[in-house]
């Protein structure tokens, strides 16, 4: 090859990391990225147990305290802290170094790409201070890293570094992050009550497995309660639960799938005014214990693909959870934002046949149920909600066997009515939240009983 005539500048720009990379992630996910670091710290402290449903890990000594308001963001934990060596060589580098052995030592962590913390703090604000208190051969030591993001961006040299200073050790070993001079978007979101509630919901959902193990996460002074998935179990209902290991390049991944009915399917298939309840159903994916996909009803899981129908209200009630666990975090099907799965991942694809089987079984049940609603309801009401952790191993999903019912000829009655009148009548029927369909059905039954009487 001939000699190049010139070199195109391909150096990374500081502004790219601060202003561009932060656009690919939501603010909620930034907070979660910081939480992941704390959780990884807790996991390190208890000695790297594989985070499966049966791990028996006790995270109750650990607490992560977050305060987020218009004035700033503060997060502190007692999860062991980061030592100076980690800070010098790993925690502040942009992306994982090629020769980075430190993070490959099988500690079942969630942080994988080496981008989360930096991206998170850049998204949050302009003035950052990270403190760490850690144990070095039995002696408590501490340091802090102040970052003035504007000043850092303004530096022109290509030698990227942050200064580390000595600090007084805090009472407990852990990391404390303080971000002030918030970016405009962050300030607005932290002052938004609906953002605050949604952040709490996301934490409750995505760290449900850690919270169940006793981890405490406090958001603005109030502890977050886990929103744990439950599935119905009875003689006629049995969720699927099975697990296996799959070999992947450079190691192996443990896969566990649980799937079944979490609630009875709806009688009313028309969308109601509030479809919030819908959110919790669908497929969940957890990587090393952290939920990265929740209530998915898209082609990412199975719906609308490979001959499967797209999600419909009829399928409400179904929940499936896939747990991928590996000490080689890079093998997990995570995206960098930890908000979806990497569809090209062989590990993820290897779980799809089982996902298809259970999804198909549920679709068939909800179809058969339409012809035998009364029998189905009896079976559904008899089933008990069981926590994920208590579900028995079972290679196939079991649903009630429903009798085929002779069809009675029916017609549909449809009419419009002012919403205020529907609500008023719903209130008189005893529940202001009854769906319009339910109000219509009850009105018919009421008139029928009154004017026609018993059949």
């Amino acid at each position: 090859m001939t000699e190049p005539i010139a070199y195109a500048d391909a150096n990374a720009s500081r502004a790219f990391f601060v202003q561009m990379l932060t656009r690919d992630i939501t603010l909620e996910d930034c907070v979660l990225d910081l939480l992941d670091n704390s959780v990884d710290g807790a996991w390190r402290s208890i000695g790297h147990i594989a985070p499966t449903l049966d791990d028996g890990a006790d995270l109750s000594p650990f607490c992560i305290d977050i305060r987020a308001d218009e004035g700033g963001f503060w997060m502190s934990d007692n999860c062991g802290g980061m030592d100076l060596q980690r800070a010098e060589n790993h925690a502040f580098t942009f992306g994982r170094k090629d020769d980075d052995d430190e993070d490959r030592t099988g500690d079942y962590r969630i942080g994988v790409y080496g981008i989360g913390m930096k991206r998170a703090i850049f998204k949050l604000g302009w003035k950052v201070k990270i403190n760490s208190t850690y144990c070095d051969n039995g002696i408590a030591k501490a340091f802090f890293v102040p970052i003035d993001v504007r000043a850092w961006m303004a530096q022109a040299d290509t030698d990227w570094k942050f200064e580390i200073f000595n600090a007084e050790p805090a009472k407990s070993q852990g990391v404390a992050i303080e971000v002030t001079d918030l970016t405009r978007g962050t300030k607005s979101a932290f002052g938004n009550p609906s953002f605050q509630q949604n952040l709490r919901r996301v934490i409750a959902r995505d760290y449900a497995l850690h919270l169940h193990r006793g981890l405490t996460i406090v958001l603005n002074g109030v502890a977050v309660d886990a929103s744990l998935i439950t599935l119905l179990e009875s003689a006629e209902f049995a969720p699927l639960r099975k697990s296996w290991d799959v070999a992947a390049e450079g190691g192996s991944v443990h896969i566990e799938i649980l799937a079944g009915a979490s609630a009875a399917p709806p009688d009313d298939e028309a969308p109601d005014e509030d479809d919030r309840g819908e959110e919790r159903y669908g497929w969940y994916v957890a990587c090393n214990g952290r939920i990265v996909l929740a209530g998915d009803k898209s082609t990412t899981s199975i719906w609308g693909l490979e001959g499967f129908p797209i999600w419909h209200r009829q399928y409400r009630g179904f929940i499936g959870l896939i747990l991928f666990t590996s000490d080689e975090t890079e093998l997990l099907p995570l995206t960098t934002t930890k908000r979806s799965v990497d569809l090209s991942s062989e590990v993820f694809r290897s779980a799809r046949p089982t996902m298809r089987e259970v999804t198909r079984a549920w679709i068939d049940y909800t179809g058969a149920r339409k012809q035998a609603r009364e029998v189905a309801k009896v079976a559904e009401q008899a089933a008990k909600s069981v926590s994920l952790f208590s579900i028995a191993q079972n290679p196939v999903i079991v649903t009630p066997t429903l009798p085929a019912k002779p069809k009675i000829k029916t017609s549909t009655i449809q009419y419009s009515m002012a919403v205020t009148r529907i609500r008023a009548l719903a209130t008189e029927f005893g529940n202001v939240n009854l769906s319009a369909r339910e109000v219509g059905m009850r009105s018919f039954d009421y008139a029928y009983d009154d004017m026609v009487g018993e059949e």
Binding site: S188, A189, G191, N192, P193, S194, F195, Q197, N198, R200, R201, A204, D225, S227, E273, D274, R276, V419, T420, R423, T427, G430, N431, V432, N433
Partner: protein, 316 residues
């Protein structure tokens, strides 16, 4: 039945106190937000109590009252207290959106009080969302709704679900049964959530100055009612407004439902003669004065005696 046929508006002491607090607050805010050409928009009914205050306390001239009832409309027209009050016949959720396309209305701040007689409804939240998103900069928005628990469901879980449908994400998953069951707690919880709904609406549409809460009170004459309100300032005025409403002497936020005791003129005069006072005012003090009242009643009087109305019968 229209509420003006059900209630003689002038005989609701707690409503009167609450209205006086709001207008006193608005008066202090008016110095920070030039309302010399503002428009007052409300439901004046046939009594126009708030319109009288909007004009006398705030100096607002352009005033619009919305009245949906046909007879009410004729009576409202007849009872207009000032020449510059216009009464429009129709439903507010049809009339207010017309203002959004009216260059004259959009060129000046609004002081708008949506004083619904009824409980919060889907129409009302839709209307509130519209006002928060579209009202001109430096407007004030107040809303009053019935907050009787039974209007929102027969039991705590129905109430929780109903609030969720009406107010969306701001309603926490963990509302306690106590917050939903006890009538005063329910009213105050609902006031908090309604206020958060207004704040969230402003943030969700990236309204530059956002919504700064300024009023939140529960009161009860016959029905349990709440009033929530705030300012939609420009970004430049936001700090001035926030500072004002967080001062100690700001009376707009009440953690105690305003349920003032009915006092005779004699009791009122004797109690009032004790005010203002820095020493404790409690039941013992009142007993020493020769009569008796509950501690909560005394506290409400102590806080709001300056706004306390006195009613007497007049011959027409």
């Amino acid at each position: 039945m229209p509420s003006f046929d059900a209630v003689n508006y002038s005989l609701r002491p707690n409503k009167t106190i609450q209205r006086a607090i709001v207008f006193e607050g608005l008066r202090s805010l008016s110095y920070a937000l030039d309302w010399s050409s503002a428009a007052y928009i409300g439901f004046g009914s046939i009594w126009f109590a708030d319109f009288v205050m909007a004009h006398k306390r705030l100096g607002i001239e352009r005033m619009i009252s919305i009245e949906s009832d046909q007879i009410g409309f004729r009576r409202a027209e007849y009872n207009r207290p000032f020449r510059t009050v216009t009464v429009l016949n129709g439903l507010s959720y049809e009339i207010i959106p017309e203002f959004y396309d009216d260059p004259v209305m959009m060129s000046q701040p609004w002081v708008i009080w949506l004083d619904y007689d009824s409980e919060l409804s889907d129409d009302a939240t839709h209307e509130l969302r519209g006002v928060v998103e579209r009202a001109p900069a430096n407007s004030a928005l107040m809303v009053t709704v019935n907050a009787s628990g039974k209007k929102y469901g027969a039991d705590p879980s129905q109430k929780r679900e109903r609030l969720r449908v009406l107010l969306g994400d701001v309603v926490p998953d963990a509302l306690t049964r106590e917050q939903l069951r006890d009538p005063d707690a329910f009213a105050l919880t609902m006031a908090d959530l309604l206020q958060q709904f207004l704040q969230a609406t402003a943030e969700n549409c990236a309204r530059p100055g956002g919504f700064v809460p300024a009023f939140r009170a529960a009161y009860r004459d016959k029905a349990s009612m709440i009033t929530v309100g705030g300012i939609l300032p420009t970004i430049e005025r936001r700090d001035a407004v926030s500072t004002l409403v967080t001062e100690d002497r700001w009376e707009g936020f009440s953690d105690l439902a305003i349920i003032a005791p009915h006092l005779t003129l004699k009791e009122l005069a004797v109690l009032q003669a004790q005010m203002p006072r820095s020493e404790v005012m409690d039941r013992t003090v009142v007993q020493e004065l020769g009569f008796d009242l509950g501690e909560d009643q005394i506290e409400i009087f102590r806080r709001y005696y300056r706004h306390y109305p006195a009613f007497a019968q007049l011959s027409a």
